[in-house]
Amino acid sequence: MGEPGHESALVLLVDDYPDNRDIYVQFLTYSGLRVEEAENGYEALDKAFALRPDVIIMDLSLPGLDGWEATRQLKRDPRTRHIPVVVLTGHALAGHSQGAMDAGCDAFITKPCLPERLLEEIRTILTAAPRPRSGDLTS
């Protein structure tokens, strides 16, 4: 299913709300993507450094290290700087999106967000920024 070159893309999905993770995991997997999950900022950083995903879907309100700080650290680190971060959050106020942009995210989506919308966004980002991948991420 899906186009070649994207099926093998790895998505790191960071969200502390299990049901939301479950929806997107189900749908993205169903759509042919590989999905890794993280439920807080520290876990997100660990997995990002370890797995070097093609794209990171980042919730902002996270226990422990929040999404803004996690994004900042990812964008500061040379190993993960190139990985696009799509912020997906229930925070709809103007200040929130600005804060996220300041932290270095590449896209900003407000919940509620239907799974197909997220997929669309991921595809857009991956198409817009194709890049050489490290071998361990390629399956």
Binding site: D19, Q26, H91, A92, H96, K111, C113, L114, E116
Partner: protein, 686 residues
């Protein structure tokens, strides 16, 4: 022959002494005239002392010597006690009268002889006859000579008198020739050979003028005896004026003449002219003074303040009408008015007398209390007095102006009141201000609290929004996946149910979004992002977004764009939100027919308008305000047909206001609706 009567008599007596042997003899001579008397002329044998002062008054007829004088023959005067009556003593004396030749002539004198023999008597009588006419003739000649001398003397005296008169005096004959002229007249009218040409000419001119006056007199007769003649002073040539008084004199010997007295009236005329000039000036000055006085009085009377002029005696010499009101008893005034006038007089006099007594100050001001005699109202007056001082530094008058200070005092009183009120006001303001400061402090605190509350509210709303969205996201996500068959194929019924879940969730989401918008606007947290954009491009985007709804509605949707729509500088997102809202409403409330979006531009007011018109159910007049209220629909009943939280238009109107625009509706029930957003082409920055 002796020429003198005394010498003649002495010789005669000496002859008798020798011939008749008389021892003593005296010759007495008569004097005629005012005081006729008999005095000794010559004597022999008589001491001169006895004769000195001897005189017999001829008026005394009973005197023996007088009787002897007037008798025709010699008389013997006996020695009978009449001793002092003859200069020869008490002895018997022979008295022989001496007669002139003329029978009527008075006796020339008397010979007194003693003693006398009968022969001697004959000699004596002969001598008497010879001596009588001789003595008479000699006496007469002597008298004539004396008279001539006296006359010459008197003439000289008269001349000197006339000459001492400074007025020229002349006597002229009938032909106008000068008979007699005094020195002054001669100086003017007579000239000598040795005098200068100028003087001679002046004299000639004077004579001509004087003659003219005389001839005029002669013509006019005694009717005009006085006239004036201008003459020239021959010495210095100056003009002189004389008054001529002429009197005609008639003399049997000299004929008719005219005596003229010229009186120098040059100075008099000069004085007259001067006096006339002075008088004229005086009259002029007087008339000027009168005019000045009239003017002054007019001025003084036209002054509303009383003006009084007082002389040094304290008497009022002048006052104007306003002053009269205070210092004269009104016609209808009774005793009370009179008393008040007197009181005013007393106050005023005391003030003015102080002015007179103050030597150094020329002005004095003070206040005196007077009373209006008509009304009895007290008048607090300010009096200003000025002295009028003559050139001899005497105070001739005092002028006083009174000024009614009632109004001034009232004003001052009012001013005091005002000041008091103002102070009171100030105090109240101060109190109010301090109260205000207190309130402000409270407000400030409450503002801080409110701000904190607002921050908390915003935080709460943000949190709530987040909290709502998270589960809603899950609901919508799962529903979507089920509908997409991610979890396997659904039955038709299941699909329908899932769609219900989906649409309800969407509705819930839109409510949450609306509430969030309202809250953000209310809290002032709705940011405004002004940027340039074009209306057609915006409308295309809007239509694209609502395309699914249009497709479902089966309505004809059209767009109508005015030509030359300008670029708009506003918040694109908010305009878009408003238009989407209006369009979705139109689609929702129009069961069938059409919906039209129109954009217009008014260059004059620089306003852009976007109108959304539908052929839908319309809105009743009474509901046209209601629809813009929060949580309201026209049909607000629990059984209403149309869903929605009723927040859409309320938000739209708030957003329009944020854009400095407005949102209005034109509609009628069953006749469709037009919602128009009007806004400035360029929204001014904050």
């Amino acid at each position: 022959m002796a020429a003198h009567p005394g010498e003649c008599a002495q010789r005669a007596l000496a002859w008798l002494q020798r011939r008749a042997g008389i021892r003593r003899g005296v010759c007495l001579v008569t004097h005629v005239g005012e005081n006729p008397r008999l005095t000794p002329l010559a004597s022999v044998g008589v001491p001169p002392t006895r004769l000195r002062g001897f005189s017999v008054d001829l008026e005394a007829r009973d005197h023996p010597l007088t009787q002897a004088l007037f008798s025709t023959r010699p008389v013997v005067l006996a020695s009978n006690g009449h001793a002092p009556s003859t200069p020869l003593g008490s002895t018997a004396t022979q008295a022989i009268p001496l007669r002139a030749l003329e029978p009527n002539a008075p006796p020339a004198g008397l010979l007194l002889l003693t003693p006398l023999s009968p022969a001697g008597t004959a000699d004596a009588q002969w001598l008497g006859r010879v001596l009588g006419p001789r003595l008479a003739a000699l006496t007469a000649a002597s008298h004539l000579q004396e008279f001539g001398q006296q006359l010459r003397h008197e003439h000289t005296l008269l001349y000197s008198i006339i000459n001492t008169v400074t007025d020229p005096i002349l006597l002229t004959d009938a032909d106008g020739r000068i008979m007699i002229a005094n020195a002054r007249a001669e100086a003017l009218l007579a000239t000598g050979e040795d005098q200068s040409e100028g003087r001679r000419r002046a004299v000639a001119l004077n004579n001509m003028l004087f003659s003219a006056v005389l001839s005029r007199h002669a013509l006019e007769g005694a009717g005009a005896p006085r006239s004036e003649v201008p003459l020239a002073d021959p010495v210095d040539g100056s003009d002189l004026l004389f008054e001529v008084l002429s009197t005609v004199t008639s003399d049997a010997r000299e004929g008719t003449g005219v005596v003229s007295v010229l009186r120098n009236v040059t100075d008099l005329q000069r004085a007259t002219v001067e006096i006339e000039e002075n008088y004229r000036r005086l009259r002029q000055t007087e008339s000027e003074a009168r005019a000045e006085k009239d003017r002054l009085e007019l001025v003084i009377d036209s002054v509303a303040d009383p003006i009084i002029v007082t002389d040094p005696g304290g008497n009022i010499v002048m006052m104007n009408v306003p002053a009269e009101r205070l210092f004269t008893v009104p016609e209808a005034g009774g005793e009370e008015a009179q008393r008040l006038v007197q009181a005013n007089d007393a106050h005023f006099s005391s003030f003015v007398s102080n002015v007179f007594f103050e030597a150094d100050a020329r002005r004095r001001s003070g206040s005196i209390s007077l009373i209006d005699p008509r009304t009895g109202i007290a008048l607090p007056m300010e009096a200003i007095s000025g002295k009028i001082v003559s050139e001899h530094a005497e105070v001739t008058a005092v002028v006083t102006i009174l000024h009614d200070r009632t109004e001034e005092l009232e004003r001052a009183h009012l001013y005091e009141e005002l000041k008091k009120a103002s102070a009171e006001l100030e105090r109240k303001v101060r109190e109010a201000t301090s109260e205000l400061v207190h309130q402000n402090e409270l407000l400030r605190r409450s503002h801080i609290e409110l701000e904190q509350a607002s921050t908390l509210k915003s935080q709460f709303l943000a949190n709530m929004s987040h909290e709502f969205r998270t589960p809603l996201n899950a609901i919508l996500g799962y529903t979507s996946m089920l509908l997409k068959g991610v979890s396997g194929e659904m039955t038709a019924q299941q699909n329908r149910n899932l769609e219900r879940i989906d649409s309800n969730s969407q509705h819930l989401l839109s409510i949450i979004n609306d509430i969030l918008d309202i809250s953000r606007i209310e809290a002032g947290k709705m940011p405004l992002t002004v940027a340039e954009f074009t209306i057609p491009e915006l409308l295309r985007e809007v239509l694209a977004e609502v395309e699914p709804l249009i497709a479902r509605s089966r309505l004809t949707v059209s767009a109508e764009l005015a030509e030359e729509l300008p670029t708009v500088g506003s918040d694109r997102q908010k305009v878009k939100q408003i238009v989407i809202n209006l369009l979705t409403n139109a689609l929702k409330f129009t069961p069938q027919g059409w919906v039209k979006v129109a954009a217009t531009w008014d260059a004059g007011s620089e306003q852009v308008a976007i109108a959304v018109t539908d052929s839908g159910i319309g809105i009743a007049k009474k509901d046209q305000d209601v629809i813009f209220e929060d949580f309201r629909q026209a049909d607000n009943s629990p059984t209403r047909r149309y869903t929605g939280a009723g927040l859409g238009l309320a938000i739209c109107r708030r957003l329009a206001t944020m854009l400095d625009g407005e949102l209005v509706v034109h509609s009628a029930l069953g006749a469709g609706s037009t919602f128009t957003l009007t806004m400035p082409r360029t929204r001014k920055g904050e």
